[in-house]
Every structure is written in structure tokens, then in C-alpha cells.
Amino acid sequence: MEIIVAGVLSLNVLVAEDNLFTIQQYKHILEKKGCKVTIAHDGEECIQKFDEAFLLLDPTSVESGPFDVVLIDNNMPKKNGVEVVKEILKRSPKQRIIFASAYNIGSILNASEVVMNEVEILQKPFSLNAMIAKIQTKK
């Protein structure tokens, strides 16, 4: 496990979240840490934003995906987090995904054929510092 010391992260992050306040807060703290933040307000928009970035990828980076981290909320309009995770992993099986939800994440993932090893988990509610620490801590 690699721990990145707090400071400038310079990561390319895709955030999928429907709560406007939460989006503002993620954006604020991530941008403060030097990240490039792409926002999606629902599941479909998340896949659309992912695909837009995916098309611009160097063919050698297709497996690891266009973003350093994709932070996905489970409960979103149009498509839920699990469906979005499945779609993303189909395109880029090694894309780093952090799955955030207020629900019991274990049961959600178990019931949806998503192997828990494929995604990292962040149980809501969490502090923004905890989120940054999670993003900094790479598996």
C-alpha cells in the first residue's frame, strides 16, 4: 500500500454525485489539492464523461482508464452506481474506482455481481479529509 503525503495531488478525478452541495464540496477540496475535477450529476452523464475521456486515450492506457480515480455515488438518477461501475469496468478493467454510498455497500455489490476487489469502498457519511486520504492511498 502506497501512502502519498498530503500536498498537491495533481490527479485527474471524475466525480459522479447528484447532491449539489456535495458536488461543490468535493470540487472545492479536490481542486484545492491540485486535482482536475470532472463532474457528472447522474449515472448516464458519468458514463458519457468517461467515454469522452476514453476516446482521447492513448491505446496503451485503455486498460487503466482515462482517470486516475472515478468517485461514484451509488444512489444517482438515471443509472445507479453499480451499473455505472459495470459499464466503466467493461471499457477499462483496471480503472481505479472509489464507490461511495450511504447504503450497505457490501450487500449492494454482492447482489450485483461486482467483485468487491475491483472497487474501493467509502461508506457515507465520511469527512472530506477521509476522502482525500482514501484518494491518496492507492491499493
Binding site: 447532491n19 452541495f21 456535495t22 464540496q25 472545492h28 477540496i29 484545492k32 447522474d42 444512489n75 438518477p77 438515471k78 443509472k79 445507479n80 451499473e83 450511504a102 447504503y103 457515507k124 457519511p125 465520511f126 469527512s127 472530506l128 479529509n129
Partner: protein, 482 residues
């Protein structure tokens, strides 16, 4: 298995009842026959000794007649010794006859006592009478003969004696004939009784058979009715079970939604606190955000509380007289200000009548229906209409949109609790309690609410509220938009 056992039990029970009834019938028949026959036999047994007694009288009388002939002969031959002996013999025979007659009368009296039948009683009485006649004629005969003993050559007396003898013979023959007739009658009566008893038994067997068949029919009818009832109850139970399962599913969904709704604001509240503390955002901005989120939580708590009130019939209304169009226009005004979609909200209102309602609750219904209309409409028009029906003492409200409409699966139960479009695929999620609340509030106002899809697309919610007094209907002030 269970059904088979029950049916077998019923058939067994039925057969048992039939056998029992037949047994009772036959035993009753046998008892009746034997009782009646015994009585008749007892009576006919009384006739036989009477017949013997009268025959004995007849025999003794013929002896006495011969003895009298001897007396006359011994008198003519002056054989005094034999004469006296024969006279004594005559008198002894006479005492025997008296004794036999007495015995006969006793039997006749016993017969009278023995029988319950009036006819038989009368028959014995006649026999007793006949025996008394024989006794009386016999005594007269003996008196004549004793008189003759003193003047044996009295021809006139001798003729009288012969006449009396004939009377006795006639009376004896008549009695014997009566006894023969009575014996025959009693035999016929036994046969008649036996025949009647047989007919009775056959009748009872037929009746029992009919009862058994009727019982069988009714039991089969009851069985069939029971089966139908069991089938119906099973169907009802299945339906109830299905409903419970559905309710349980919706409750689970509600718990999921409610826990999400409760947890969702916590994340940004924590975020605001964290950012304000670190000085990353302005404190006022953080407080505004926290306040808004806290209000959301409060709204959710209020909805749950209202549902509980409606379910326990504890929803209290604060009735006030208000101009209805004013309330509608105030609500639509605030919605128009906050609209973030390309939607036009139009009002098409009838007279601005004064209605007596809980305006906070009716406002809640309007806001809920408007929120739903906006939630399910991406762009287009939402129209609010009112119609005052003075004749029917009611006012009708219609909120129509040009949105997605209501799915056929949800429409029939849209006003039930926990009915939502779900979380997973739809943008338009909710707690599934809003429309249940609307229905509860409208019904508490003695009104009705309904929903339908528009032919041209979108949905329309319609509700009516009664106007209590016609006097309340007034011409509108200048606020009406129609």
C-alpha cells in the same frame, strides 16, 4: 390426504346414521307388532276358556235334561228310591251349572278389565250379559222343575219346562256362536295389525331412506359449499398474502429510501462544517447550506409524522374561510420563481369563491402535486384549473402536465403508501408518501382525489372539495384570472 379422511368420515357418519335409523325402525316395528299381537292373543286366550265353559254348560244342561226324563219315568213306574236319587242328581247338576256360569262371568269380567279397546270391552260385556241370561233362565228352569217334583203329572208345567229348556239351548247356541265370531275377529285383528305394522315398517323405511337421501344431498351440498368457501378463503388468503408481500417489499423500499433521505443530508452537513472550520468556505455560506439541509430533514420527519396521523385518523384540520384563488396564485408564484426547467405554469381559475378549508394542508396538497408535475416534466406546460359546481356544492381542482405520465403498473395504486418509481433507474425518486398524504388530506376534507394519464401525454391529478353552504359562493374579487 386430509381431505380424503374428512370425506371418509362424513360418508361413514352418514352410513352410521342410516343404519341406526333403520335399526330403530325395525325394532320399533317388532315392538309394536309384538305389543299389539300379545294383547290380542291374551284377549283371544280369554275367549277359548269361555267357549269351553259355555260348551260345558251345554253338556251339563243336556245331562240335566236326561235326568229330568229319568225322574218322570221313575215317577210313572213308582220307583221311589231311584226317583229320589235322580232328583238329587238333577239338583247337583244344577249347582254345577251355576258354578260354571259364575266362572264364565268371572272370565268375562277379567277380559273387560284386561283390554284397552272399547270394542273388546263391549264384547266381553255382551258375553257377560249372555251368561247372566243363561243363569237367569237356568234358575227359572230349576224353579219350574222343583215345582214339578210336587205334581209330576202337571202337563202344563212340563210344557213350560220344555219351553224354558229350548230358551236355554237357544241362548247357549247364541253365546257359542258369538264366541266363535269373536275368536275369528281377534284372529283377523292380529292379521290386520301385523299387516298394518308391516305397512308401517315399510313406510318408515321409505321415510328413513328419503331422510337419508336428503341428508346425503344436504351433506354433499354442505360439502360443496364448504369446498367453495375454502377455495374462496384460500384465494382471499393468497391475495392477502400477495398484498402483504407487496406491502413488505414497498416497506423495504421505503426504508431504503427513507434511510437514504435521512443519511444524504448528513454528508454535505459534515462537508460544510469541515470546510467552514478549515476556512475553505465562508461561514455564512456553510450555515445557509446546513440550514437548507436541516429543513429537508425536517420536511421528511413531518411527512412521516403526517402519515402516522392519517393512518390513525388523528389528522386535525384548522378550518378557515379563504378565497381559494388567492391561495393557488400565491403558491404558483413561488414555484414560478424557483423553476429551473423550461416549464410554463398556467392558471385557469373559476370564480374566486370563499371556501372553508385547512389552507396549510390544502397548500401542502398543491405543492406536492406541483412538485410531482415539475419532477416528471422536462419541459412543457403545467396547468392548474378550478371549476366551481354550484349545483353539486363542490369545487374541482385539476393539475395537468405534459410530462412522462404515470406507468400503468403504478397508476391503480398511486395513492397507496410507499408507491414510488424507485431509486435505481429513475430520476424521479421519492419517499412514496406524498400522494398518500394528499389523499389523506383531501379525504379529511370530505373530498375525492384521482389521477389519470392524458391522451396527448402527461398526467392529470384531480380533486374535489365540498362547499358547505351555497352562501359561501361569492362573486370573485379582482384577483381571479379568468
Amino acid at each position: 390426504m386430509f381431505k380424503k379422511t374428512k370425506t371418509s368420515f362424513k360418508i361413514g357418519g352418514l352410513v352410521g346414521i342410516i343404519i341406526l335409523l333403520l335399526g330403530v325402525t325395525v325394532m320399533f316395528g317388532v315392538y309394536q307388532t309384538s305389543r299389539v299381537s300379545n294383547e290380542i292373543i291374551k284377549i283371544s286366550e280369554e275367549y277359548a276358556p269361555l267357549y269351553e265353559i259355555v260348551s260345558e254348560i251345554k253338556y251339563q244342561k243336556s245331562n240335566q235334561k236326561l235326568t229330568l226324563e229319568k225322574i218322570i219315568r221313575f215317577s210313572e213306574t213308582n220307583n221311589d228310591i231311584e226317583l229320589e236319587k235322580t232328583k238329587e242328581e238333577f239338583l247337583i247338576t244344577g249347582r254345577n251349572i251355576d258354578s260354571i256360569i259364575e266362572r264364565g262371568k268371572n272370565i268375562a269380567n277379567v277380559g273387560m278389565d284386561l283390554t284397552d279397546s272399547e270394542k273388546t270391552h263391549d264384547d266381553f260385556e255382551i258375553l257377560d250379559q249372555k251368561l247372566s241370561n243363561i243363569d237367569r233362565i237356568h234358575n227359572h228352569y230349576e224353579n219350574l222343575v222343583i215345582d214339578l217334583f210336587y205334581e209330576l203329572d202337571n202337563v202344563l208345567l212340563l210344557e213350560q219346562i220344555q219351553t224354558t229348556e229350548k230358551q236355554i239351548e237357544i241362548e247357549i247356541e247364541s253365546t257359542l256362536s258369538s264366541l266363535s265370531t269373536l275368536t275369528e275377529e281377534s284372529t283377523s285383528l292380529i292379521e290386520y295389525n301385523e299387516r298394518n305394522s308391516l305397512y308401517g315398517q315399510i313406510t318408515i323405511i321409505i321415510i328413513v331412506g328419503a331422510i337419508a337421501s336428503t341428508l346425503g344431498f344436504f351433506i354433499s351440498q354442505i360439502n360443496s359449499d364448504l369446498k367453495k368457501e375454502v377455495d374462496l378463503k384460500t384465494y382471499e388468503l393468497k391475495a392477502a398474502n400477495e398484498k402483504l408481500r407487496e406491502l413488505d417489499k414497498r416497506k423495504d423500499e421505503f426504508i431504503g429510501i427513507a434511510s437514504h433521505e435521512l443519511k444524504s443530508p448528513i454528508q454535505p452537513i459534515l462537508g460544510f462544517a469541515e470546510l467552514a472550520k478549515s476556512g475553505d468556505i465562508d461561514q455564512n455560506e456553510a450555515w445557509d447550506g446546513v440550514l437548507e439541509l436541516a429543513n429537508k430533514l425536517q420536511d421528511l420527519a413531518n411527512v412521516v409524522l403526517d402519515v402516522s396521523k392519517i393512518e390513525s385518523n388523528r389528522l386535525e384540520l384548522q378550518m378557515e374561510k379563504i378565497p381559494i384563488n388567492d391561495l393557488i396564485l400565491e403558491i404558483t408564484k413561488s414555484f414560478k420563481i424557483n423553476l429551473k426547467k423550461p416549464i410554463i405554469i398556467k392558471e385557469n381559475l373559476d370564480e374566486n369563491i370563499i371556501v372553508e378549508v385547512d389552507w396549510v394542508r390544502i397548500g401542502q396538497v398543491f405543492r406536492n402535486l406541483l412538485n410531482n408535475a415539475i419532477k416528471f416534466t422536462q419541459k412543457g406546460t403545467i396547468t392548474i384549473e378550478t371549476h366551481v359546481y354550484s349545483d353539486e356544492n363542490k369545487i374541482q381542482f385539476r393539475i395537468s402536465d405534459t410530462g412522462l405520465g404515470i406507468s400503468n403498473e403504478i397508476l391503480p395504486r398511486i395513492f397507496e403508501k410507499f408507491v414510488t418509481k424507485g431509486l435505481k433507474h429513475e430520476e424521479q425518486s421519492g419517499t412514496g408518501l406524498g400522494l398518500f398524504l394528499c389523499k389523506g388530506i383531501i379525504e379529511a376534507h370530505s373530498g375525492k382525489i384521482s389521477a389519470q394519464n392524458n391522451i396527448e401525454g402527461g398526467a392529470t391529478f384531480e380533486f374535489t372539495i365540498p362547499i358547505l353552504n351555497k352562501e359561501q359562493i361569492q362573486r370573485p374579487p379582482e384577483l381571479s384570472t379568468k
